[in-house]
Amino acid sequence: MSLASRVSLPGLARQEITCPYCFVEISPQRIPFRCRGQVGRRQGCAPVLDQELAAYTGSTAGASLPPVFAAPPRSGGRADCPDCEQPTHNRVCPECHNPLPTAYCDSPGRIVALVGAKNAGKSTYIAVLLHELMNRVGTELDTSLVACDDRTIERYKRDFARPLLEERRLLPTTASAATAPREPLVYLLTRTRPSKLARTPLAGMGRAKHDALALVLFDTAGEDLRSREVRDLHLRYLEAADAIIFLVDPLELPGAHNALADEAQTREGTLGEDPDSEPINIIARVTEALRLRHGLRPGERLPVPVAVALTKIDALGPAVSRQSALHRSRSGSGVLDLDDRSAVNEQVRALLHDWNAGQLDLFLSQQYADYALFGLSALGSMPEGDRVGAGGVRPYRAEDPLLWLLHRFGMLDGD
């Protein structure tokens, strides 16, 4: 991994926008509008059934909305409805008619894909990461995280927050995309950055800067990654991803067995002898898909930033030496502590090699121009049965991969 400076990402330079719902690429000039409709006493178009949206969601419920029309945007990203002549800012995907936030259209949208084997903790990680971004980490970074559609709000509350954070139940295994329709969780992450004069006597004269980033998290069922056919069929979003977080369960690494704490050994991996489920195989398949999309030649490395995170590091216990950075909280506030980042990166690399999983590190270095290794614990302690352990959800270094990606996207300074 190169930490010397932030690299210029291919996505940042492109002109087209990827719909975070159907992953179609759209020219910014061709993004249609949706009439604002009747609101209170204000005139507007009546709702009609949006066939495209209903087809996407698989239900007509919630698909009766004001009509969609195509029009060149005027200044301010507005357009007037040809029927009711009311101005509107609402933009939608021309294919699936899902809403596209103005900030998403204006600023580069980033699709972050989560990949991991079954039981790697992807759903738990999404729940905890969003919770951290909405609370502790969000406060620290001066960021706000807002869901871009009602379905995201509902799904996060129903499938993630309520069972895990309120009821303290472990999340069930995510249904495969082959059997259950799935949508991404689309959030708009807005960061307020102080002016450069903030730390000078002229602090009052500068203006704070707002950076926005669309964060698209797609919770992949672990088994969807174990078959090329299913992956190719259902995981188009991987190809559209601007960054990937690979989650690796250390319990699934055979070499790590002896390093686990006693109670963790009883929860050792559930994937057994299935070679498809080994982390390196899953990463290899995703890598293959991405290489095909980017049309890379042999020897060229993928420019997509990749964060590989060892989950459940609370289960490692004494395997990690006392002087390891994994025993310390992330240092720095509002910035990315690059020394800490390097220390963790090297520590995890050392652990992988210690566990005879060095092939993973080598593969990543060969295939990706920009990757980093992490260790995190979403829950903070070993679960007890199907419930969260003592003290509830106490995440530890869960935000590290995202902070690194924000740093890579230019939204977070390094220190």
């Binding site: 002087q323 025993h327 530890y396």
Partner: protein
């Protein structure tokens, strides 16, 4: 009946009954159709007369209805009167037209009724125009006319008479052969055989034989006539006809020697009647019978009518009357009724003729019976003659004989059983023998009386005991009589002064207990077993005396006093109270309803309260008495002040401190609401128990350790001898401490987590950093628990505090406390609540995180290019020594993870810190890593930034 004037009530009634009611009753309770007759109306009715007469007639009806014979008729009259009421109401108002119309209609209906009766009579008379009086009466009754009216109507047209009595059995036993022979000989009847061609006209067979000969002279059935015809046949050559003729002649001669003419007349009449009966059995009509009698048999037309009339009426069941029971029926009836002895007597009477012999068949006393008696040889006669027997004697019909034999046999057996019972000394056995006899012959004379006089065996034992609770009663225990035969009943009798002699000698009482026994008198109880009318000798218990103790005895302790109360039995002379004293008893002055005496506190006193009765001689008798113990004591003193320390016990235990009261045992109880009793109030302990909840109390040297388990009001009560003094109170907020406190050091941050109690929404996190602060805090806690100082008096021991809500905890993913790695920290988490606008902090849970002894190292490359060296600079917050130190080099891109991951460049022991260690700078080819390790169990090394450890190629 006079209809013109007003008659006296009795006179009118008698006349009305005679002239109206009786004919109507005779006409089958048919009210007269003519209203003039029915209401005895005058010929020229006026409204007043009609109203008065109708009223009079109805009064007569009501009086007549008292007689059973008129009841049905009067009911009909009243029923029809209700329909006629409008007619008479109109007449009373002066409108007689409806009545006149009804009167005219009534006469017409009477005429029509008479015509109907006449038609029915003509039908009954038929071709022969004869009816029996019974038939006429029946027709009159059903047609609603009187018999006299119908008789008058029949007069001259229909003959009313009884049918002639025709012989049921042939006067000659072999008549069937005679009849057969007559048929073979071609004679139309017996008279034709006897007189042959001499018969000159129709013959009369009823009321004697009469027929005219060809010569005009009368033909007389006599021996001469028989001899004449016999001579005529004798002259003929013998052939088969001769034999038949002899058969007939034998019959004709059978009566010779007696009244030959009567015999021949009977024989001729029976021959005619038998032929008519034969035709009737062949369903011949009345007309055919009449023609057969006159034309074929040559009977006189008048006699022919009478014969046919009589033969037809023989077949009519109505004319026959109900069948009369015979001896067999009577016997069977008696046997079925269980009157075996009566049946045997009846059978004996049948076989033993005498003056007292019963009529064997009352219905057989008629002419037929007489004729049969005259014949004397037709025991097997037909119709209802099955019960008849030829003569008085042993020749009973078979069914009668069987029944009689059964009756006699059963009576014989039963008599033997009765005699055996009479000689049996065992009354139970005798009872059973008689029961068997009575089962065979229910009406066996003397058996039932004898059985009723057999007494059962007496009750074997009877125990009477006196019970005093709640009311005095005598309970009786006894064993039943050993007698098992028959139904044995028991009578319990009580008597004063002497045992009762029998069931009537005393007062009857219930069988098992006497709830109202007389008091202070000698009582005897007996139980008497009774079977039928015989009683066994009484079994006696007693004498016993019922002397109740005082009731509702209460002895209450006071402060140096004891008072007692009770209810004295009314029969008792007085109440005596004794108190145990130095191995004996001391009488305590007492009244009839209570006592009070002064006694020392703190001692248990034992009292005996007895009732005193006077016996027959006037001497005092004392009952055993009621024993009670009581300990008088000084009243409990309240606890005036309490302090509550929630941190002194375990988990949710709290220590309640107070100054021990002078009297009584202090106790802490929990109430749901604030107690309403004023402080220092003295209450019955039951009141406190009822209103409060008992909680575990553990008395310690400091106070009482309690475990409330819930919120409420803690109340100190002092208990002494059934009373409680209300003391201080404390509002207790139940704040269960957080559970499973986890504190993990992560660098210079301690990550705290715990499980929230369900009902707690806020906690207080407090921490002390540094050894000194922790120690000071503990000293202060000990002093506070010892009551030496109040909390917070040592400023240096004050911890950092922060209140954390549950929402904040979950949002932040636990609590994070910044603590220098080199310092220990003591963390305490306590539940917080608000009660009565005051913030209440619960018992904290405490965790301590030890300090880390950190030694930082830095790697520096020093020296001139020809003598490059690698210097390890060690530093720490305080001087120390590191037990061992290794500098390891690992080639490649992977940082060494442990000392064995690479080659050791240098190894040192007991390295002083701060200090420097130098080794020659290695110069491996390519990329490599350097890193220091220590196996010191106390010291932890802190790596420099990895860029200082890593040397790219």
């Amino acid at each position: 009946m006079t209809t013109g004037g007003q008659q006296s009530g009795q006179g009118f009634d008698a006349a009305y009954q005679r002239e109206v009611l009786e004919p109507a009753r005779a006409a089958g309770d048919q009210p007269p159709e003519d209203l003039r007759v029915r209401y005895a109306l005058p010929e020229q009715p006026t409204p007043e007369a009609v109203a008065a007469r109708v009223k009079q007639v109805r009064q007569c009806w009501r009086r007549a209805r008292g007689q059973l014979k008129y009841r049905k008729l009067v009911d009909r009259l009243e029923a029809e009167h209700r329909e006629l009421a409008p007619v008479f109401t109109a007449a009373e108002r002066g409108d007689l037209n409806p009545l006149r119309q009804r009167l005219a209609g009534g006469q017409a209906r009477s005429r029509r009724r008479m015509e109907v009766a006449a038609a029915r009579l003509a039908d009954a008379g038929g071709l022969i125009q004869m009816v029996t009086p019974g038939e006429l009466e029946d027709i009159a009754r059903t047609a609603g006319v009187t018999g006299a009216e119908l008789s008058a109507l029949a007069s001259g047209r229909i003959e009313v008479r009884e049918p002639d009595a025709l012989p049921a059995a042939p006067p000659y036993a072999a008549y069937p052969k005679v009849r057969e022979s007559l048929d073979v000989l071609g004679r139309r009847n017996l008279a034709d055989f006897l007189f042959g061609g001499r018969l000159g006209g129709p013959m009369r067979v009823l009321d004697g034989f009469a027929a005219a000969g060809r010569d005009g002279g009368p033909l007389i059935p006599s021996a001469e006539a028989v001899a004449a015809v016999a001579a005529e046949w004798a002259r003929r050559s013998r052939d088969t006809s001769t034999t038949h003729a002899q058969t007939v002649l034998a019959a004709l001669r059978a009566g010779q020697g007696e009244d030959t003419r009567a015999h021949l007349t009977d024989l001729i009449r029976f021959d005619v009647v038998d032929r008519l009966r034969e035709r009737l059995r062949q369903r011949a009509s009345e007309r055919a019978l009449l023609r057969h009698a006159t034309e074929e048999l040559g009977v006189d037309a008048s006699d022919a009518r009478r014969l046919v009339f009589a033969v037809l009426r023989e077949q009519a069941p109505a004319a026959a009357g109900p069948p009369q029971p015979g001896p067999a029926d009577r016997l069977r009836e008696l046997l079925d009724a269980g009157e075996i002895y009566a049946a045997a007597e009846f059978a004996r009477a049948l076989t033993d003729p005498g003056p007292s012999a019963p009529s064997r068949n009352p219905s057989a006393a008629g002419p037929a019976d007489g004729s049969s008696g005259a014949g004397g040889a037709h025991a097997a006669g037909g119709t209802r003659g099955s019960g008849r027997h030829a003569a008085a004697g042993s020749d009973l019909p078979e069914d009668v004989a069987v029944l009689a034999a059964e009756a006699r046999h059963r009576v014989t057996t039963a008599t033997q059983l009765r005699e055996a019972a009479a000689n049996e000394p065992d009354t139970d056995r005798a009872w059973r023998l008689l029961a068997d006899a009575l089962k065979l012959v229910r009406d066996l004379p003397g058996a039932a009386d004898h059985q009723k006089r057999l007494p059962p065996k007496p009750v074997e034992s009877l125990i009477a005991t006196v019970h005093a609770d709640p009311e005095p009663s005598v309970r009786l225990v006894w064993e039943a009589s050993p007698s098992t035969a028959g139904e044995v009943l028991y009578h319990m009798v009580r008597r004063r002064d002497r045992p009762p002699h029998g069931p009537a000698d005393g007062e009857p009482v219930p069988l098992t207990r006497d709830d109202d026994p007389p008091v202070n008198v000698h009582l005897y109880y007996v139980v008497i077993a009774v079977r039928g009318e015989a009683a066994a000798p009484p079994t006696v218990a007693g004498p016993i005396l019922v002397r109740p103790e005082p009731r509702e005895v209460e002895v209450a302790p006071g402060d140096g006093t004891v008072t007692g109360r009770w209810r004295c039995p009314p029969e008792a002379a007085r109440i005596a109270v004794f108190r145990a004293d130095r191995g004996g008893e001391r009488a305590v002055p007492a009244g009839r309803e209570g006592f009070s005496e002064r006694v020392p506190n703190g001692t248990t006193h034992h009292y005996r309260i007895c009732a005193v009765y006077l016996d027959e001689q006037g001497r005092e008798v004392t009952t055993p008495g009621v024993r009670l113990s009581v300990t008088p004591s000084a009243p409990p003193e309240p606890v005036y002040d309490i302090t509550v320390d929630a941190s002194a016990g375990e988990d949710d235990e709290i220590l309640v401190r107070f100054e021990r009261p002078g009297h009584g045992n202090p106790e802490i109880v929990l109430l749901e609401a604030q107690p309403e009793w004023p402080r220092s109030a003295i209450l019955p302990i039951e009141d406190v128990r009822r209103a409060s909840r008992r909680i575990p109390n553990a008395v310690t040297s400091d106070g009482i350790l309690v475990k409330p388990g819930r919120g409420g009001w803690l109340l100190a009560v002092t208990v002494a001898e059934g009373t409680a003094a209300v003391g201080a109170q404390h509002r207790h907020v139940n704040l269960p401490p957080p559970r499973r406190l986890v504190a993990e050091r992560r660098g210079d941050v301690v990550h705290v987590g715990f499980d929230w109690p369900d009902e707690v929404a806020e906690v207080e996190l407090s921490w002390r950093i540094g050894v000194d602060a922790i120690a000071t805090g503990r000293i202060e806690a000990n002093l506070v628990s010892a009551g030496r100082i109040e909390a917070g008096r040592l400023p240096t021991a004050a911890p950092e505090r922060v209140a954390v809500t549950r929402a904040a905890y979950e949002a932040q993913g636990g609590l994070r406390v910044e603590v220098p790695e080199a310092e220990p920290v003591e963390l305490a988490v306590a539940s917080v609540s608000t009660a009565d606008d005051q913030r209440v902090v619960g018992t904290p849970v405490i965790a301590e995180v030890q300090a880390r002894t950190l030694v930082q190292y830095e790697l520096e490359r020093t020296g001139p290019p020809w003598k490059r060296a690698l210097t390890v600079k060690l530093s720490a917050e305080r001087p120390m020594r590191v037990g061992s130190l290794e500098l390891v080099l690992r080639r490649g891109r992977v940082m060494p993870h442990r000392p064995t991951d690479g080659e050791t460049l240098g190894s040192w022991t007991q390295v002083p810190v701060p200090g420097e260690l130098t080794v020659p700078l290695p110069r491996p080819a390519g990329e490599y890593w350097l890193r220091c390790f220590t196996d010191d169990t106390v010291v932890e090394l802190t790596d420099p930034p990895v860029r200082h450890l890593h040397s790219p190629r």
